[in-house]
């Protein structure tokens, strides 16, 4: 029974990681922005949901439905106002990478600082569906299960959009060969903005889901960004399916480490896997050699 408990815990965590990392792989793989402020927007969404739920009595599921377009618009603005000047300024992909790291590092501190000013450094959580549900004879918290299912629906939805639609094909083309995308009629700047905003929508959605079952604090975002970055590299940059699998893998490793070794060693476990990938398959577990 312990086994099923662990599997459910790992799937929830892994699903969320995958969702956050998918957002990042879109932003980095297509828009070429190495976004270090990714996790802060996730935690920000968690706090906004907390406020909606506790003071306005909104159902978190409505918050989720509302958060996706809101996150999309917010990140669209972030990209077009704050990051486009850098894209214009930088002559090469490497220069943009450096600039985007520095700029999003600044954004990280601004968002985190705002959250700290409003809510302080403490942990927050709210009551939502904290009733046990029987899964294969094992009680599992309903909110956790719901978050896991929502994460997978969102993740697979994004995968299908990328794999089956014209927009998806254009995004993949941008990820594969940004310098040639315009030759086949793709508007690179529009597509980059779209990918960045879509990534933003995913991470904001993930933030709402996290707030449903995990206590969160203003300074937690950085750790999520870190793990998302590791997943992106493990899955192969720009590879959405790779992200999903690498995210699940990380979820399992973390859950097992926390359960059998020490909850204080999860970061070490993440780094251990990262190191292995770097040494053995630097192009990512599911990436191709270029």
């Amino acid at each position: 029974m312990l086994f099923i408990e662990l599997v459910v815990a790992a799937l929830t965590l892994g699903g969320l990681y995958a969702l956050i990392a998918m957002g990042l792989t879109l932003q980095y793989g297509v828009a070429r922005i190495m976004n270090l402020s990714h996790g802060e927007f996730m935690i920000g969404a968690g706090f906004v949901t907390y406020w909606l739920v506790t003071s306005l009595g909104v159902n978190p599921l409505w918050a989720l439905a509302f958060s996706l377009p809101a996150g999309f618009v917010l990140q669209w603005l972030v990209y077009s106002i704050l990051l486009t000047p850098l894209v214009r300024r930088s002559a090469s992909a490497a220069a943009l990478e450096v600039d985007s790291i520095l700029a999003t590092f600044g954004i990280l501190f601004i968002v985190q600082g705002i959250l700290l000013v409003i809510w302080g450094g403490g942990f927050y959580s709210y009551e939502f569906l904290s009733v046990p549900v029987q899964v294969l004879g094992v009680p599992v918290a309903a909110n956790r299960l719901l978050a896991a299912i929502a994460a997978f629906v969102l993740g697979i939805g994004v995968y299908l959009v990328l794999a089956r639609t014209r927009w998806g094909a254009a995004l993949r083309a941008m990820a594969d060969a940004p310098q040639f995308a315009h030759l086949v009629g793709i508007n690179p700047r529009l597509m980059a903005t779209f990918a960045f905003a879509l990534g933003g929508a995913l991470v904001v959605g993930a933030g709402v889901l996290v707030s449903m079952f995990l206590p969160f604090s203003a300074t937690m975002g950085v750790a999520f960004t870190m793990k998302a970055l590791v997943i992106v590299i493990m899955g192969g940059v720009g590879n959405v399916l790779g992200c999903l699998l690498a995210g699940l893998l990380l979820g399992f490793v973390e859950t097992l480490t926390a359960r059998f070794l020490d909850p204080g060693l999860t970061m070490a476990a993440v780094f251990a896997i990262f190191l292995l990938v770097l040494l053995l398959r630097p192009q990512g577990l599911f990436g191709r050699v270029r």
């Binding site: 002559a91 450096v98 700029a103 600044g106 501190f109 060693l265 770097l278």
Partner: protein, 345 residues
């Protein structure tokens, strides 16, 4: 090589300033001045050491805190068993080993892998140290009782600053410095020229990290109480990064020009707006990234060059007289454009 170094007025100027700074505690008895001096020197060494590696190679390291904290914590653990010199040696070696591991596993690859690894390194080391203390030694938080005064710390940091600057100046004049600059311009070209890029990057990263570790070790007696959360404070990496960028990481003395105004600014912000510190820090950062991408030092250098070129234009008579009145300005712009091309391939 040595002759040009010794002949340069900059060398003597820097040396003079260092000697003057060293004499400060002798004629100023204010504890506050020494404390502020320590603060400036701490960030001065950290930022210069950061730029030693990240400046020429353009690999952004976010791991300053990891090394700094490692140095401080090593001293805290061993302060009762070893003499001061040995403490510094052990701390330096540990920092170098950590940097070697990080460098060997990430610097063979592209810059992104390195950035990501260093981004989480401080947190990783903090977790490992905490885990070790909780499970093996069963103490969390340590006291440092060492008979080292603030003035001693001040002098040691100043000596370290002199050493970093000297090392940097030497490296710039050797083959290693050339290799690093080519890596920064275009790594592929460096490889095609037959340069061993990985070895150069790892060597410099280890060197820079060792200096950072030593800063942590030297400054640790200032805190009497240390725990992992204090010494592995991620804000330090961030502050060092901003300072080096504001000054300009492209020149050896650049970071110092950023350290002096920003330590004052941060001290002011932390005292006046403690709650809004993070936001203001972030805003400062964005302003620097958008408005001064190459740093103050580079900007001043540009003005200086423009001034000189326009003066030369006046003295020698213009080489393109028919171009009109603004020929001095135009010549300056052309030289700027060439410089920009050099700076950003």
């Amino acid at each position: 090589m040595i002759r040009t170094f010794l002949r340069s007025p900059v060398t003597w100027g820097v040396l003079l300033v260092l000697v003057l700074l060293a004499s400060v505690p002798l004629w100023v008895s204010s504890q506050y001045v020494v404390a502020y001096g320590i603060n400036v020197l701490q960030y001065g060494v950290l930022a210069t050491a950061w730029a030693l590696f990240s400046g020429p190679t353009r690999y952004i390291s976010l791991a300053t805190t990891a090394f700094f904290g490692m140095g401080a914590y090593t001293v805290a653990v061993l302060s009762e068993t070893l003499p001061w010199g040995a403490l510094l040696l052990v701390a330096g070696v540990l920092g170098a080993v950590l940097a070697l591991i990080v460098g060997l596993s990430t610097l063979r690859l592209s810059g992104v892998h390195f950035v990501i690894f260093t981004f989480g390194l401080a947190e990783l080391v903090r977790q490992l140290v905490t885990w070790y203390e909780v499970n093996i030694t069963r103490v969390i938080g340590r006291y440092i009782f060492l008979d080292i005064s603030n003035v001693d710390i001040y002098w040691q940091l100043l000596a370290l600053l002199a050493l970093v600057l000297f090392t940097g100046a030497v490296i710039q004049r050797t083959r290693l410095g050339l290799v690093l600059r080519v890596i920064g311009e275009d790594e592929l070209v460096a490889q095609h020229l037959g340069m061993n890029t990985t070895r150069a990057k790892v060597a410099l990263f280890v060197l820079s990290a060792t200096f950072m570790t030593l800063v942590g070790a030297i400054i640790s007696p200032r805190w009497t109480y240390i725990d992992p959360a204090i010494v592995f404070n991620p804000t330090v990496s961030f502050q060092v990064l901003i300072m080096a960028l504001l000054g300009g990481a492209g020149h050896l003395l650049g970071p110092l020009t950023g350290v002096i105004p920003l330590t004052a600014l941060f001290e002011l912000l932390a005292a006046r707006f403690p709650n809004h510190f993070a936001v203001l820090l972030g805003v400062t950062f964005l302003v620097i990234v958008y408005l001064l991408p190459n740093g103050v030092f580079e900007r001043v250098h540009q003005w200086w060059r423009r001034l000189r070129v326009s003066r030369m234009g006046m003295q020698t008579g213009s080489p393109q007289t028919y171009a009109g009145v603004a020929e001095g300005r135009e010549a300056a712009d052309v030289s700027d454009a060439v410089d920009d091309n050099e700076a950003r391939p």
